[in-house]
């Protein structure tokens, strides 16, 4: 199984995540889509590391994991704050700011 398939898969996952961010309105779901994108990137990083025969890609994947985790924490914090203020986590409800 050539690495290309993994790249395609990661591209697919990434696009899925991106589309999800664009179409879904619930903050938490949007946020999960972002995480999906990050992990898709991880996949391609590892694949490229395999192709290039180096370890950099895999190390990068570590860092990406950390960043993803940090984003999770921050995101949960913000979403929780807004969720306690108004009992909903839907981006649609946050319409005070004019577009």
């Amino acid at each position: 199984m050539t690495p290309t398939y993994y790249l395609l898969l990661s591209a697919l996952l990434f696009s899925l995540g991106a589309v999800g961010v664009l179409v879904r309105r619930n903050a938490i779901v949007v946020f999960m889509c972002v995480e999906l994108m990050l992990n898709a990137v991880n996949l391609s990083l590892v694949t490229f590391a395999r192709i290039n025969g180096g370890l950099d890609g895999q190390v990068m994947a570590f860092f990406v994991m950390v960043v993803a985790a940090a984003e999770v924490v921050i995101g949960l914090a913000i979403i929780m704050a807004i969720f306690k203020t108004r009992r909903s986590a839907s981006v649609d409800d946050s319409n005070l700011l004019k577009y």
Partner: protein, 534 residues
């Protein structure tokens, strides 16, 4: 998995680190950690003072060390790369670090002020979120809150360590020499900002929604950036800018990866810089965030983002410029047009400045893509000038208040000159600087950038930019007209007397705007001293 072999295997060679060069960085980040400890162990009463002292001392120390390093004869003229080539402390880095530290100082002063808004602009301790605070019915936390209560509750001093973390991230970002470091720095500077946006004392819902919007879009953008990094890694087999540059000069690789990677990467960067079509978050966040934080974002984030853009473009993609320059032309034009045109329709001061920042991002991009020394120095000068003007402008905005917080609606600014001619005069000066009139730093910056662009045969772009800035001038003028020529509204806002900190911040901003406009040569030369090294 062979256990015993690993006993006597040779030690790993530790990368040598030039601590002197990266000292400012270490100080800022270390102080941020110290700030967290202060939060943890000091009683609530002493936190604010301790934090302010800590932050100011940190900035001072970092600045001093930076000057010491820059002026030390031991340092190579073109700077050096350290930390195994991850960080390069070259002349642009030093310039940008100095800019960041100064602008950071200004923003911190704004953040620390507790006199304009009793108790500070940030949500009080122990009142987690609007809904659960007892004065639910009132507009913002202050409705049922007396001044004493406000000052007793104080403000959430976590904002100081957060600021330092963000600042440290920015400093790494402009110095990062490989894309991975850049990405980490990007996150380190973004995550605290997301939180800071949601901490406003007034209009907490607005603030929190600004935070959530900024966060979601920001995470989205950084995912793009990261995917770009991955593709470029696949393309060049390394994330070092230099390696990518060498790879682009080679021909045997797949250009698809290069273009896709570059595109995604740049999208992420442009988002942070709130350029062109990737500006969607800017007005909302600028409006919703607490004004001091807005000032911090508008000034420092812009500097950091464009520092990164410059480094990436010059370091990694200069050779392949003919591939992408056209696209960035378009982006710059879109950005300038959006900023100028949508700015006309705004009725809120903060949103207006937000759109103007979009337009300015366009101008900056014009300088950044001209890819010559004038472009580099001009853009950096522009960044410094714009940063100071913006900080002072937001400082003034934070002064104009009515019963429930800042009166940011334009109609409330009518006839401000009657109430307080000084504030109106200062703001007028800043607006003229933003509009780029001569004798203000804005003009010199524009001139430098556009000169570089014409140098690079981008005259049409420059003409567009000039027209855009003429259009943009219109909405600055509108504010001046409101302040001076129209009669004040009956229940207009009062201009609260600024505390020492805010005064210092505004004064600093105005002074720099004036000095950089009237006597810029020194700074211009400094900005032009050296190029990036990789």
């Amino acid at each position: 998995m062979t256990t015993f072999l690993s006993q006597n295997v040779e030690r790993l060679q530790a990368p040598e680190i030039d601590y002197f060069a990266v000292a400012p960085l270490l100080i800022v980040l270390g102080a941020a950690c110290a700030g967290v400890l202060v939060e943890a162990f000091l009683p609530k009463a002493q936190r604010w003072a301790a934090q302010v002292v800590l932050v100011l001392a940190t900035l001072a120390a970092a600045g001093a060390l930076l000057v010491a390093y820059a002026s030390d004869e031991g340092t190579p003229d073109q700077g050096k790369t350290t930390l195994a080539g991850a960080i390069s402390v070259d002349q642009p880095t030093i310039f940008l670090w100095a800019t960041l530290l100064l602008l950071g100082l200004g923003s911190v002063l704004l953040i620390a002020d507790r006199s304009v808004e009793p108790g500070g602009a940030f949500m009080p301790e122990a009142t987690p979120s609007g809904g659960t605070y007892r004065d639910q019915a009132g507009g913002g936390a202050q409705a049922l809150m007396t001044r004493e209560q406000a000052t007793r509750f104080g403000m959430q001093t976590e904002v100081f360590p957060l600021t330092l973390f963000a600042l440290g991230g920015m400093m790494v970002f402009v110095a990062a020499n490989d894309l991975l470091t850049m990405f980490i720095a990007l996150e380190v500077l973004s995550l605290p900002l997301y939180l800071m946006c949601g901490l406003a004392r007034r209009r907490r819902l607005l603030s929190q929604e600004a935070a959530v919007k900024y966060f979601l879009l920001g995470a989205f953008a950084s995912a793009f950036f990261l995917y770009g990094v991955a593709l470029l890694y696949g393309y060049a087999g390394s994330v070092k800018l230099a390696d990518i540059a060498t790879a682009t000069s080679g021909t045997d690789r797949s250009d698809t990866l290069l273009y896709a990677g570059f595109g995604l990467l740049v999208v992420g960067l442009l988002f942070k810089a709130s350029v062109g079509p990737f500006h969607a978050w800017t007005p909302d966040v600028y409006q919703g965030a607490p004004t001091p934080v807005t000032a911090f974002m508008a000034a420092c984030t812009k500097v950091a983002a464009f520092g990164g853009i410059l480094r990436v473009l010059y370091g990694a993609f200069e050779r392949s410029s003919w591939e992408w320059q056209g696209v960035l032309w378009g982006v710059a034009i879109v950005s300038m047009v959006i900023g100028a045109v949508l700015g006309l329709t705004q009725t809120d001061v903060k949103r207006m400045i937000a759109y103007s920042s979009v337009a300015h991002a366009g101008f900056l991009l014009v300088g950044a893509i001209s890819l010559n020394e004038q472009g580099l120095s001009g853009t950096m000068f522009y960044l410094m000038a714009y940063g100071f003007t913006t900080i002072a402008a937001f400082g003034v905005v934070s002064l104009v208040r009515n019963a429930d917080g800042e009166a940011t609606h334009l109609s409330q600014w009518a006839g401000l000159a009657k109430r307080s001619p000084v504030v109106a005069g200062v703001f007028t000066f800043l607006l003229l600087a933003l509009a780029g009139l001569p004798l203000t730093s804005g003009f010199i910056g524009k001139f430098a950038v556009f000169a570089a662009a014409v140098e690079a045969d981008m005259t049409p772009l420059v003409v567009v930019a000039l027209v855009a800035s003429a259009v943009a001038a219109f909405f600055y003028l509108r504010v001046i007209v409101l302040m001076y020529f129209s009669e004040p509204a009956a229940d207009g806002p009062a201009v609260s007397v600024p505390g020492a900190f805010t005064t210092m911040a505004i004064t600093m901003g105005v002074l720099f705007t004036l000095v950089l406009g009237v006597w810029p040569p020194k700074v211009l030369e400094w900005a032009g001293t050296g190029a990036f090294i990789f």
